[in-house]
């Protein structure tokens, strides 16, 4: 394997035979008093509906099994019943914290199958919104993870900035969450005029806010004691377990899809990818904080470099014509009618598109039969894969450490269960 990262521990800690279950060894079961408890699906640490069945020897977790499916909403099957356009609102509700990354992957996959060209303004705006979404996701992560470990104050600080980000989304798209602003071919509507000054203001405020969060947590001895050395994951284990995003970058793997497989406007903006070497919860936290700063940098650059022009492609077989034309042009009327009733058709084929969501590689595998509806939509959710690493990261940790580990893996149950 071509990974050169410092060794965090020797060998592999992936349990066997089942990589995702820690089994209690037989002698321990006979000699010690093992308590089996249930953690979830409704529990105070705000991960959503995750259920862990733990076997405890005192406070040490000696057996762990994750049971998911408490939020399985049947997204993939529901999307098969709807036309391409009507299936787009389903996508953001999977990873409901970084909603636009989901929409982005789905819409990009449809555009790849269609072979349609997206105008530059839409590309740059999508980049801007994707990065704002990354900030939003990391803020929610920070607020809730710190809250679980007992650091209650960062929650309020993080959510103060989160509301500012949601204000920006509301200004652009009309809704705070699940904006449904990405359309096949570009954006759903033009960018309103007040957006750029307000976004610039936000970019000035945000780095100082990240400094505040770091002031509360980074040098804090309690935070360091709770997170340093906890939840170790080596680079080789991370690759074997399919980890990507901040979890992989916290373990020393310098891998970011925005740099490795650039999409949107990422080749034209200048940013760094933070990578840390120790593979523990603290390093993942630092990666998240540094990523927030880098995202603000990207947002500033996209604000400066936003090209003018149309916000959606011109292909009338896929994109609705402007309303003024409907009064005068018969073809526009017919196109409008066809697109709204039957829906546009996407040529037959299969395609896999991956974007760097705040949690890692979010992939969309699309199979089209040439008709107006998707034949098969499959979303590769990074949290689904990240949760598999819980057993490996645990080692011989205490219950309180388990909360820190599961929090640092940054899982959103909506995309785990889909």
């Amino acid at each position: 394997m071509a990974i050169s990262a410092p060794r965090i521990y020797e060998g592999t800690r992936i349990p066997s035979p089942v990589p995702t279950i820690i089994e209690v060894p037989e002698e321990l079961r006979r000699s010690a008093d093992i308590l089996e408890i249930n953690f979830g699906p409704n529990h105070p640490s705000m991960h959503g509906v995750l259920r862990l069945v733990l076997q405890l020897d005192g406070e040490t977790v000696v057996g762990l099994k994750a049971i998911i499916g408490y939020l399985h909403t049947g997204f993939e099957k529901s999307m098969e019943q709807k036309t391409w356009w009507k299936a787009i609102p389903y996508a953001p509700r999977m990873d409901y914290v970084s909603f636009q990354a989901n929409e982005l992957a789905f819409v990009m996959a449809i555009e790849k199958l269609l072979g349609i060209d997206v105008p530059p303004k839409a590309i740059w705006m999508r980049t801007l919104l994707a990065e704002l979404n990354r900030v939003h996701s990391h803020l929610v992560w920070l607020g809730t993870s710190a809250l679980e470990l007992g650091a209650i104050s960062p929650f309020w600080y993080a959510f103060r900035e989160r509301d500012r980000v949601l204000d920006l989304f509301e200004l652009v798209a009309g809704a705070r969450m699940h904006t449904r602003y990405f359309q096949v071919g570009g954006l759903a509507e033009d960018i309103p005029r007040g957006f750029f000054p307000q976004c610039r203001e936000f970019c000035e405020v945000m780095p100082k806010a990240v400094d505040e969060y770091e002031a509360m947590l980074t040098e804090n001895p309690i935070w360091q004691a709770r997170t340093k050395g906890v939840g170790l994951l080596s680079a080789a284990d991370a690759i074997a377990l399919g980890q990507s995003g901040p979890v992989a970058r916290g373990s020393g793997i310098d891998w970011d899809l925005r740099k490795a497989e650039p999409y949107l406007a990422y080749p034209d903006v200048d940013f760094d990818v933070p990578v840390r070497e120790n593979g523990d919860v603290y390093d993942r936290y630092k990666v998240h904080m540094d990523e927030m700063r880098e995202s603000v940098r990207i947002v500033e650059q996209t604000l400066e470099g936003m090209p003018p022009g149309p916000w959606i492609a011109d292909d009338r077989k896929v994109v609705l014509p402007p309303r003024e034309e409907l009064h005068t042009s018969m073809e526009s009327l017919i196109h409008h009618f066809k697109i709204v009733t039957e829906g546009f058709t996407v040529p037959e084929g299969e395609v896999y598109v991956a974007v760097e969501s705040p949690r890692g590689e979010f992939g969309c595998y699309l199979c089209s039969d040439g008709g107006p509806r998707p034949w098969r939509v499959r979303f590769r959710a990074p949290s689904f894969v990240a949760l598999q690493a819980t057993a490996t990261c645990m080692g011989q940790a205490l219950v309180a450490d388990m909360v820190a580990v599961v929090g640092s893996l940054d899982t959103v149950m909506g995309e785990v269960d889909r």
């Binding site: 705000m46 959503g48 399985h72 909403t73 049947g74 409901y96 959510f159 103060r160 699940h178």
Partner: protein, 191 residues
Amino acid sequence: MNSKPLREYGLKSERVLWKGKGPGVFEQEVAALEERLMLTTLERAVAWAQSKSMWPDTFGLACCAIEMMSIVSSRYDIARFGMEAFRASPRQADLLIVSGRVVHKMAEPLRQIYDQMLEPKWVIAMGACASSGGMFNNYTTLQGVDKIVPVDVHVPGCPPRPEALMEGIVRLHEKVQAGVPPAYEIRGVAE
């Protein structure tokens, strides 16, 4: 008998938006209930106390949970209503805000949590998915959480804005203060 019908306390939510608007259907129904129920002073005091510190239970399931978290945050501060203490244990909670889509696998834990709550207890179905299944009309999603728990207030939206959830909570408070009994006394679960 009540000395002051509810509409004279001012259902502030609608009043603020539309000056000069008379009582809406909801207010008239609540007023009619008040006449029939004939609350005494002690009951009114108890209802006032219940509504002023109704502690919610952390039952965040999906996207609506994120908006529910934002009412705890400082901009939409729910502490002004005495509700910032989200209890993790249902035994200590009064209000169950079902925020998010409930699937069949989760229905049993939901009902268990509801059963573990002590009376009086209220349920808010937050969002389209909890009220009616939302955009997910399929094999796995419960078409409305009122199939398994009796619901007091449905809050529409996908997700509802924090202000919308606050309006739902405020209306629940008004219901409680008007003497409307919690939902489990009035109706069972939907068929």
